[in-house]
Symmetry: C2
Subunit: 236 residues, 2 copies
């Protein structure tokens, strides 16, 4: 889907084992579909969580494309109002949005974090949501102890996946682009990371397959732990 | 939501009647929810059209943020495969996607186009979908005769709403940014246009209200024809 003549195109990282790994948070580490129960609590259909979450990302990306994105929480609140037809009270909006800090972990994540710890690969969470919310949620989910830190692109007014967010986070964790891995279940996040020059690992449990429109990840597998095993099996 | 210190921020266009008007196509002129019937045809729930369409825009914007977007049709096909869990045959995918060229018009659009014609304001369609599909759909919907042309940001490998797409289309229609209007039901599209220096008109019939996270449009109204009346009522 990309042309080799594209201006400013960065070289693809070699297939090498990363020295630092970044983990996407929502949907990759934590089960966002658990928000469905909170939609039911406020009188909405459970399946609406997915339209709401997709719309939040779409709007955050649109605002990023147009110049600068406000914090994730503000974009999510506006998207929730729109998705629910302006029928929810402020209390009901708060109840749904508070759910982001109470999401259960996906069961294939802790084994992946254990493998990275055993391999002595420093691991960080990297979200465009609020770093505070992500910290709280990862604490409650029992995953935070495996992480050296939690970073959010919110700090630079951007949603993922432009190259500048991966440049920024690699600076934060003091790791060269081509020795940094990104693990996610969203193919567009891995696509952005690979195009920025990182080593991409896609778990396909959310999307089913690698879509035809993205840059191929360096490794992929259905489960997150298997994808991380393949990342660690790359030559040093 | 935006800071005055933001680098490269363009000045907001004055409240003046535009000399040329651009119309968004899908959802603004044409009823995309009509795709719901085609989801049912292929054994999927009708409401899935909205998640599919939102995902298509999110993915197209993500690919744009990461460097360059493939054509809308490719992004939509990949999003349809993912949204339907890879259960649809190629024929079923074709059937749903062909629906984009057969969408009925929103009833508040023809009166708006008549008003613009009476006012001698040249009007163009501006989409990030395929220009050919948009032309076919607008022909069938009986709206194409009011339009001087149909332009797609696909020509420059981008989805809306970065400033460069509005710069590009204003060049195509030979109109200065601050004398060009953009009419849409998506607040993020009007936001992008206003931040690029155009005159923005938002019809809120889709989203219900102007969201808190976007740049205020120059005019807004529930219906498209009323929004266009307000645009035409601005001082010359």
């Amino acid at each position: 889907m990309t042309t080799s003549s594209e201006a400013g195109r960065r070289p693809r990282a070699a297939d090498r084992r990363p020295r630092v790994v970044l983990f996407d948070v929502f949907e990759t580490m934590l089960q966002v579909d658990a928000l469905g129960a909170r939609f039911v609590d406020v009188g909405r259909p459970a399946h609406e969580w997915e339209l709401f979450f997709t719309r939040t990302l779409r709007d955050g990306m649109a605002l990023t494309l147009a110049g600068a994105a406000p914090p994730f929480g503000e974009v999510a609140r506006a998207a929730l109002r729109t998705t629910t037809g302006h029928t929810l009270s402020d209390e009901a909006l708060d109840h749904v949005l508070a759910g982001f800090a109470h999401l259960p972990p996906h069961p294939d994540v802790e084994p992946a974090l254990v493998a990275l710890a055993h391999a002595r690969v420093p691991t960080y969470a990297f979200t465009h949501g609020s770093a505070k919310t992500a910290c709280d949620a990862l604490d409650r989910a029992g995953l935070r102890t495996y992480l050296r830190g939690v970073h959010s692109a919110e700090a630079i007014g951007s949603f993922k996946p432009p190259a500048r967010v991966y440049d920024w986070v690699c600076g934060q964790v003091d790791s060269p682009l081509d020795r940094t891995g990104l693990v996610a279940v969203h193919s567009w996040d891995v696509h952005g990371a690979v195009r920025a020059g990182l080593v991409g690992a896609l778990a396909t449990r959310l999307e089913g397959r690698v879509p035809a429109v993205v840059e191929p990840p360096h490794v992929s597998a259905t489960r997150v732990d298997t994808a991380v095993e393949r990342l660690l099996a790359l030559p040093a």
